[in-house]
Symmetry: C2
Subunit: 520 residues, 2 copies
């Protein structure tokens, strides 16, 4: 099995992928490259999302969009350009995004002495910002939509591209341009807006765990980490295979800040004018980075079946023309039967590639199941199913690890087993990720233990009591490269981490523990 | 019936919509506003697509995307910024788009004396163009994907936003930013690329006729109207209710132009290096403008059922609480039965709106069918179905026009009739649009007749012989405000317009007729 050979090899394996043990950062880029998910473009900090990567994004969009619609939201589209004066209206917001804004200043090109340049005569009276987020333009629009409490709530979502001029970029995780969805809602009361903020955080957690198969902790960000202009920012935090945290989505309670800066008032049920209450929430193509980092191995991409553009790859094996005819006939029949179950199936009919080349390619691309069909299988009336990963939950005895992921099953049984197998793989990925996270999670009460955890034990999620100020957060960041990932919701605190205590740094009383980790 | 009252009224009707007879341009804007499809934003030339408009776009996207995938295409995403030097590589292309490019020149803002401005220290070494189309960036990427004929064809589509700095804008038809899809394909031979160009033109014509219910003529653009950088541009042209043409989609054969400027060569089957052949093709949110202009009436939006976000609106009618309980129970039951058929149903439960208000609202929004349920319907065991438009094919005798669009049917029959009714309405819209187009189409052989057609008979599509040069096209535009919409494909030429003749302006021999019209 390729799996075993490669996992035991240090450095770059046969799959052309640097191993995680060797260089985790390079492994991540190699997985993306070899699975043809994305690549750097000639444009600084911007990526090209290749068809296989985009197909995963489309499946994820469908899962999210269905949930948004089921919770009463409608999609709409707003201009991507925001006039500078509009952007500047909400001060904290403007200050938060000022350092990463792409600015349009001209609207025409001109040839000057054979060189093409922006036409100086086409300079805009007012520069336009390419949206780094859309609160300002959307609230300017809401002004025309909302007069009375009867117009509320307004529950809007937008799928679009976003630009934040990041200096250090990493494919999917942080790019100058990225794709995302942004929800923007307007409510008559603070309570309703908070409820919405929490509801959508719940939708994100559901998608993270039940679609991406990445367990997450829901919580609040500290004031210093809040979205620029928000009164409260909620987030979900997942753990990657190097023990680092990844913020996978945020949901903001904006209070009346944006309603005030855009002057959006409404007549409430008591006939009085009030400013509208708001929430906003978003997840992005960063989630593709999350699923790569959470599940993939040294062979390449591992996909949760719910996001796999191809569920099953069928690889025919034959030598003679006579064998080919028989094998291809069975392969087509198998494909038809699986497609009839609603599965996405790829029959790899390419000539000029060996079966082995094909095996590796579909493994690198994370296809959950492969079916190999050769003359011997026809004779036996069986099919050979190969799982992309074996059940291998850390903490279980070694004996549990199966030596081979291959199963030879009677034909009918094999075909009936595909769907249950995919469902099982989806669950196993979540269990595996949860077990991994647990193995890298510590309840810590002293700085010495904290230091040891992060500096010689690989680190992970540290549950610590905290009562520090922003300056103390900076101190922790400087000493340990850690940050407070979130102040978890009560129901997301494990039993061993509950209760009050004393701040790990200042010794001051603390009502509950927070999660500290190194992060992307 | 509101229909009858309003259609006979000049000026602004009860629906708050200017009539077509009064002012066609204003009617178009009124329909959009009252159906809440879109609105102008504070950003010059950019529109907000409201939820009802966006829902139509989503349905149209699904129809298109399914067809793209069925013809072997995959979606991907490329950066929206194009470095100026890359844009300038293909000369004709750069020249064609130079006058409408939004240019990003800075990447940071700064507060100077309390005023926020682009930070002069953040000026980019090379300006970035916001994509007006993506040939240049995509072909730069293809260079890394294509080495040999075995890598071909590459069949890519992208859904994205586009910016073309138009000076005169009109909602949906022409805006500075719009949404579209752009297909970009790479082939080993010219013949394959041409075949692809024609195939996708066929897909567009299929969607126009069978989804949008707008009959179109397929043809070539004249050299002066070609896409900048193309060897041949195909288009589909539809007729709006004012007799003007609207270009609804284009498909370009690009030859080796972009492969040459991006240096994309491949090893062909004979082992020789050659440049890759290309096609590109696109349709945009302009199509929503097309369906509004082709079908809507003085009451508001008319939607082909295949693009209607809501197929059926149910309006309950009651006075007492006791009536309400009974009516709502029946309304919910009706909704459940229709939804079980896969239909999209809206039960209008809003309090504080009269049934009449609700009727007008769903009519303005183009919902194809309304079901009214009142106490009398319960007594009779019937339902009242109201079609959004009556069958009214121009040319048929007046007696055919039904006085009312309402039908009272026994309950079971009513529910069973909904789907067939929607299917029939879809067909009727196409027939109606085709009959309208025919009534405004002339085969014309003299300039005098041409002048009369456009200046005193309302105009429309004129099939005329043409053998002029670009300068003669300009002359026709100046004299009659008409342009050559296309040089139609042979199979799209009606019998009466076939054969050779003499150019209507120059008298030179002409092999076939072209379509001339005023256009958007």
């Amino acid at each position: 099995m390729a799996q075993q050979t490669q996992q035991s090899k240090p450095g770059v394996g046969e799959a052309g992928i640097t191993t995680r043990a060797q260089d985790y950062g390079q492994w991540y880029l190699d997985v993306i490259k070899r699975a043809q998910l994305a690549e750097h473009s000639v444009v600084r900090g911007c990526m090209v999302i290749r068809p296989h990567g985009y197909a995963i994004w489309e499946k994820l969009q469908r899962e999210l969009d269905d949930r948004f619609k089921a919770t009463g939201h409608q999609n709409a589209y707003f201009p991507m350009f925001i006039p500078l004066s509009l952007m500047a209206k909400e001060e904290a917001h403007a200050a938060g995004f000022a350092k990463e804004c792409a600015v349009v200043t001209h609207y025409r090109l001109k040839s000057v002495g054979g060189k093409v340049v922006p036409d100086p005569d086409s300079q805009l009276d007012e520069p336009l910002i390419v949206r780094p987020t859309s609160e300002t333009i959307i609230w300017e629009t809401f002004k025309g939509w909302i007069q009375s409490y009867r117009d509320l709530p307004v529950l809007i979502n937008q799928w679009c591209n976003i630009v934040r001029w990041e200096m250090r970029t990493r494919l999917f995780l942080r790019t100058a341009e990225f794709l995302w969805q942004e929800g923007h809602t307007a409510h008559a009361t603070a309570a309703e807006a908070v409820e919405e903020t929490e509801r959508m955080l719940g939708v994100y957690a559901d998608v993270a765990e039940n679609v991406l198969a990445v367990p997450v902790i829901r919580g609040h960000k500290t004031p210093g980490e809040r979205f620029a202009g928000a009164l409260d920012t909620f987030c979900i935090e997942g753990m990657m295979q190097d023990g680092r945290a990844l913020q996978m989505g945020t949901s903001h309670y904006l209070g009346q800040n944006f309603a005030k800066s855009a002057d959006v008032q409404f007549l409430n049920a008591e006939g009085k004018l009030d400013y509208v209450y708001a929430s906003s929430w978003g997840v992005s193509t960063r989630l593709i980075g999350a699923l790569i980092m959470a599940h993939s191995d040294d062979i390449g991409l591992v996909l949760p079946p719910k996001l796999a553009p191809i569920h099953v790859a069928i690889v025919p094996i034959y030598k003679s023309d006579e064998e080919k005819v028989r094998v291809m006939s069975e392969a087509r029949q198998t494909m038809a039967e699986l497609k009839a179950q609603g599965l996405s199936v790829k029959l790899d009919e390419r000539e000029g590639f060996s079966p082995g080349d094909k095996f590796y390619e579909w493994e690198r691309k994370g296809v959950p199941l492969r079916i190999e069909i050769g003359p011997k299988d026809l004779e036996k009336g069986s099919l050979c199913l190969v799982r992309r990963f074996v059940k291998d939950v850390p903490g279980e005895a070694d004996g549990v690890r199966r030596k081979r992921a291959k199963s030879f099953l009677p034909r009918a049984e094999a075909i009936a087993s595909v769907k249950p197998c995919l469902e099982s793989m989806q669950k196993e990925l979540l269990e595996r990720a949860r077990a991994f996270r647990d193995s890298r999670t510590r309840v810590i009460d002293t700085l010495a233990e904290f230091e040891k955890f992060f500096q010689s034990e690989g680190g992970g999620f540290a549950w610590v009591h905290w009562a520090g100020e922003a300056v103390h957060e900076d101190e922790m960041a400087k000493r340990f490269e850690t940050s407070i990932r979130c102040i978890p919701l009560a129901e997301d605190i494990p039993a061993a981490a509950r209760g009050a205590g004393q701040c790990i740094l200042t010794g001051k009383p603390s009502a509950q523990r927070v999660v500290m980790a190194k992060a992307y």
